[in-house]
């Protein structure tokens, strides 16, 4: 028997739901990454999951982002489209937020470390203390594993099932 693995994309996703028996659906903070990305501006970092200080951010990658960096490792999982990640060293002493990622001016991004061309299902390390940027000619979707930072957007009431 041939099986079909059902993946999803910006253009083709189906959303499940919480069927409440005796509970409040808000306890489950139920959302869909593709729906969130479809409503987001390019490179907004919208939290779709939060566990104390840690978050997962849904990002609509479209065009070329600014340079960013964090003091800790992050990861980026491409869920739709194709994304090019470029990595550079970071100028000594450049200030970064204690947690989460922050913007890096062009002049603070130094030596080229390498590039990754990632497609759906590919998980890429965003290494601590290094500058990175994302580029995608067409809308793509990325899930970032990180810590909440100054640019994390919290929109639970907009993105989650409430009834």
């Amino acid at each position: 028997m041939a099986y079909e693995t059902r993946l999803a994309s910006l253009m083709n996703y189906q959303k499940g739901r919480v069927d409440v028996i005796d509970d409040d659906p808000k306890n489950y903070a139920f959302s869909n990454i593709f729906e969130v990305a479809s409503l987001a501006k390019p490179f907004e970092q919208v939290a779709v999951a939060k566990n104390f200080e840690y978050v997962l951010e849904a990002v609509r990658a479209e065009g070329t982002s600014g340079w960013r960096a964090a003091t800790h490792d992050q990861s980026a999982l491409v869920l739709d489209g194709q994304v090019e990640f470029t990595f550079k060293t970071l100028a000594d002493g450049h200030p970064l937020p204690d947690s989460g990622s922050g913007g890096v001016p062009e002049e603070a991004a130094g030596t080229l470390m390498g590039r990754v061309l990632a497609r759906r299902g590919h998980l890429t390390l965003l290494p601590a203390g290094r500058a990175y940027r994302l580029a995608s000619p067409a809308p793509a979707v990325v899930l970032i594993q990180t810590v909440a930072g100054p640019d994390t957007q919290f929109r639970w009431a907009e993105i989650c099932q409430t009834a």
């Binding site: 041939a2 099986y3 079909e4 693995t5 059902r6 993946l7 999803a8 996703y13 189906q14 959303k15 499940g16 739901r17 919480v18 069927d19 409440v20 028996i21 005796d22 509970d23 808000k26 306890n27 489950y28 903070a29 139920f30 959302s31 869909n32 990454i33 593709f34 779709v48 999951a49 939060k50 566990n51 104390f52 840690y54 997962l56 490792d73 992050q74 990861s75 999982l77 990640f85 990595f87 030596t111 470390m113 390498g114 590039r115 990754v116 061309l117 497609r119 759906r120 299902g121 590919h122 998980l123 890429t124 390390l125 290494p127 290094r130 594993q145 990180t146 810590v147 639970w156 009431a157």
Partner: protein, 329 residues
């Protein structure tokens, strides 16, 4: 509820007429015959199908008792206190609690782990793999027939930074015994294009997580593939039914990467039904810290389990300093 005071220890007893040893752990006693596993304690007794018991036991041993509560079913299970473990019967069952027939023993982790591993080894017959889906393994039943220690002591993936990086957990491929699963034959196996400048190979890294998961030989077994401080990506492939009912001591999050899973959600302490959560590809849901859940996956699916491994969390939640739901809005 009875609660023993002495530090329990394990004992092994001679094989019965079916060839299986029995085991004692404090005042709990475990035995099996051709079809069933039996658990006795001072105020009661319980029976489970041998295959279901072994599938639950396999997860408890492999996961080092996981986060929170591992219910083998609605009666017996364990609570992880991260150094000691509660072995219980009826503790999270409303009827047993009301009848005061529940029983709990707190056991040093190495003691209970050694006893559980010995039960798993003795009761798992050749050809039965408790980690595999029912369609991909032989029978757990019948009299004692060899063993399958290679299957029950598999290496558990725990990446230090990210799978595929130099010195970290390796990729899976045909050559290292990880063929693509029959239900994931259509999953793209292409790897990302990685161009690292000399000297930066340890930091410029990427791999095909979907292909990696398509080659997992086991089900319902979260494994760490990437780390951000105490934030752990623990993806897993799911088919049929989660063999345990997981009771949370912290919120955990699910990101459905492919296909569909239905979760039965109950109150953690009483088993009262609270919700059903149907998750499709791209869906994200929290499992609050006061529930227990069991998943049903009709086709092998990819699930990203996301955990916060901080040891501070159970105390923060149980003391009321942090709410049971991870997000308030």
């Amino acid at each position: 509820m009875t609660l023993t005071g002495a530090t329990p220890h394990g004992e092994v007893h001679e094989p019965n007429e079916f060839g299986y040893k029995s085991f004692s752990l404090g005042e709990f006693h475990f035995s099996r015959d051709e079809y069933f596993a039996y658990v006795r304690w001072p105020t009661g007794h319980h029976v489970m199908s041998a295959d279901a018991f072994l599938r639950a036991l396999q997860r408890d041993v492999a996961w080092e008792f996981f986060y929170g509560i591992v219910n083998f079913d609605g009666v017996v299970g364990t609570v992880n206190h991260y150094g000691t473990v509660d072995l219980f019967a009826g503790r999270y069952n409303d009827a047993y609690r009301r009848a005061e027939l529940d029983h709990v023993e707190n056991i040093e982790t190495p003691v209970i782990k050694a006893t559980f591993a010995a039960i798993l080894s003795d009761w798992t017959n050749e050809g039965f793999d408790p980690f595999a889906s029912p369609e991909e393994t032989g029978s757990a039943f019948g009299p004692k027939n060899g063993d399958n220690d290679a299957a029950i002591t598999r290496h558990r993936v725990t990446a230090q930074r990210m799978v595929s990086l130099p010195g970290d957990e390796p990729l899976r491929n045909d050559d290292n015994g990880h063929p693509v699963n029959r239900m994931f034959a259509d999953v793209d196996q292409d790897e990302p294009e990685v161009y690292a400048e000399p000297g930066f190979e340890a930091e410029v890294g990427s791999f095909n997580l979907f292909a990696y998961l398509s080659r997992s030989p086991v089900t319902w077994n979260p494994s760490v593939v990437s780390v951000c401080r105490e934030s752990l990506y623990c993806p897993t492939t799911e088919e049929y039914i989660l063999p345990i009912i997981h009771g949370n001591d912290r919120a955990e999050w699910f990101v459905q990467l492919s296909d569909e899973i239905t979760w039965d959600v109950e109150d953690r302490d009483t088993g009262r039904k609270r919700a059903k959560v149907v998750m499709k590809a791209g869906d994200v849901a929290a499992m609050p810290s006061d529930i227990r859940h069991q998943g049903y996956s009709p086709k092998r699916s990819m699930l990203l389990v996301w955990e916060n491994a901080s040891l501070k969390i159970p105390q923060l939640i149980s003391s009321g300093q942090f709410p049971t739901q991870p997000v308030d809005f």
